[in-house]
């Protein structure tokens, strides 16, 4: 038979764990003396708790991590503290950048901010579907984010009358914001930080392919002796292709909660042609670092690959 005294249920765990004050403990005991229902429940819970402890405590005491746990941790920390660009998939970037250099015949359309919007959004959708970075944002939000970026006066001013070749969503920054990219006909890139909740463009990150930017990329590249040697042979850099690197960082908040935030860095790919070979150099402009040097790659093989 059930018991109507529901207050006992609220303190029954404190009672079996011996966490009640003496006076409360006495009151519960008094109740139990006249209540078979709660007496049986206390007996059942106590026995179950004791079984749990008796069975699992010896097992828990036997658990210990592998002896090399500290060495593995220090190695991992060392890797994590390396510049993030050193850990990225160069191949992914290489393929993307290479596609831009020699990849087919992109459709150039003079961008008309009003009439061209539908066309650009259609292109943007195709691009978004083909982006290999895992997306953490729904397709509706992506379209919305691109729409917000394209209609922003500052974005329009930055693009000016140049053609917008591609648009897409790079990835999320946090719960409310995403990075939208616009690839411009002269090779420049514009990244817009868009808050989809307030529907505002929070920040613009342009990478204009100016002579200064090209020179900065060369200055970073020639810190590597192999690239210096190539340039000393009198070859010119035949291509500069801006790109970006997006990464999700996991940090721990002061409350111990896991916070994921995305960040973006600008990359430039430099191409050198020497006889029958190609060389590709990737530099991170934000960090001022050479990421990767690839080559020689036979031109014939390269065009087959593409």
């Amino acid at each position: 038979m059930d018991c109507q005294d529901k207050d006992i249920d609220k303190i029954i765990i404190d009672f079996i764990d011996g966490e009640l004050e003496y006076s409360e403990q006495a009151l519960v005991e008094q109740h139990l003396a006249g209540c078979r229902y709660h007496r049986e429940e206390v007996e059942a819970l106590t026995a179950t708790r004791d079984d749990f402890i008796k069975t699992l405590k010896p097992i828990a005491a036997s658990y210990s991590p592998k002896p090399d746990a500290w060495e593995r941790l220090t190695q991992r920390i060392a890797i994590e503290e390396q510049p993030s660009t050193a850990r990225q998939s160069i191949k992914e970037m290489f393929v993307k950048a290479s596609r831009r250099i020699s990849g087919g015949t992109p459709t150039y359309r003079r961008f008309d901010w009003k009439a061209g919007l539908v066309g650009v959004l259609a292109i943007a959708l195709i691009v978004v579907l083909s982006v290999t970075i895992p997306m953490l944002v729904g397709s509706d939000s992506k379209v919305l984010a691109i729409d917000i970026a394209l209609n922003n006066p500052e974005v329009q001013a930055a693009v000016s009358d140049r053609l917008v070749e591609e648009t897409g969503v790079v990835g999320t920054i946090n719960k409310e914001s995403v990075f939208v990219y616009l690839s411009i006909e002269d090779g420049s890139i514009l990244i817009a930080e868009v808050n989809t909740e307030t529907q505002q463009v929070v920040e613009l990150y342009p990478l204009e392919l100016t002579e200064e930017v090209k020179q900065r990329a060369i200055d970073i590249a020639i810190t590597d002796a192999r690239i210096q040697n190539l340039l000393e042979q009198g070859v010119d850099i035949s291509g500069f292709t801006p790109s970006y690197y997006y990464e999700i960082h996991e940090t721990i908040g002061l409350g111990g909660e896991i916070i994921k935030e995305g960040s973006i860095e600008f990359i430039i790919q430099l191409k050198i042609e020497l006889d029958e070979n190609l060389y590709f150099i990737f530099v991170n402009l934000d960090r001022g670092e050479l990421i990767e040097f690839q080559g020689p790659i036979n031109k014939t093989q390269f065009s087959t690959f593409n």
Partner: protein, 172 residues
């Protein structure tokens, strides 16, 4: 780094054991140990000791990561050979006879524990294996203390019911 190593050596067992009891998978528990202390290293300059105890903070990360990795239920096939008497004899806490006894008890018990979801399992582990106070458990899980107690109550009731059902199965 020396201070951090001392911290790691002091708390690695606690983190590993708690993760293991929640997810029951050695490899995952090793991964969680690495994840937790990598996070602790990154946050070493931002942790505000005035806002809480370090151990509560460490438990919170461990439990959060374990629950998110908790794809598997406890099973009766605990990898005992690796944890209790390894071929290298690196863990000679129990004699082979005692280890076998514990293993049999566990195998019987684990079938009943299987019915608990991770949120009920966590409160029992923190309370009865790690001997934490209701208040600390409430802080770790970021839930009211009353919810901690009601979860413990429900978890024990579920376990008891399952144990009775198991006994009836054997009898019949």
């Amino acid at each position: 780094m020396k201070d951090f190593e001392a911290l790691f050596q002091e708390y690695k067992g606690l983190v590993f054991k708690t993760a293991m009891l929640i997810i029951n998978n050695l490899e995952d528990a090793e991964d969680i140990l690495q994840d937790v202390f990598t996070s602790a290293w990154k946050a070493r300059n931002t942790f505000d000791s005035t806002k809480g105890k370090f151990i509560v903070w460490l438990y919170r990360i461990t439990v959060n990561k374990s629950i998110s990795m908790c794809r598997k239920k406890w099973s009766s096939t605990l990898p005992f050979e690796e944890t209790m008497y390894t071929p290298t004899g690196s863990n000679p806490r129990y004699s082979p006879e005692r280890a076998l006894e514990i293993k049999l008890e566990y195998e019987k018990f684990s079938k009943t524990v299987d019915i608990l979801d991770s949120k009920h399992r966590v409160v029992l582990v923190l309370r009865y294996i790690d001997d934490l106070s209701y208040n600390d458990i409430a802080d770790i899980l970021d839930i009211p203390m009353g919810t901690v107690k009601s979860r413990i109550h429900n978890a024990l009731k579920l376990l008891h019911k399952q144990m009775n059902a198991a006994v009836m199965d054997v009898d019949s």
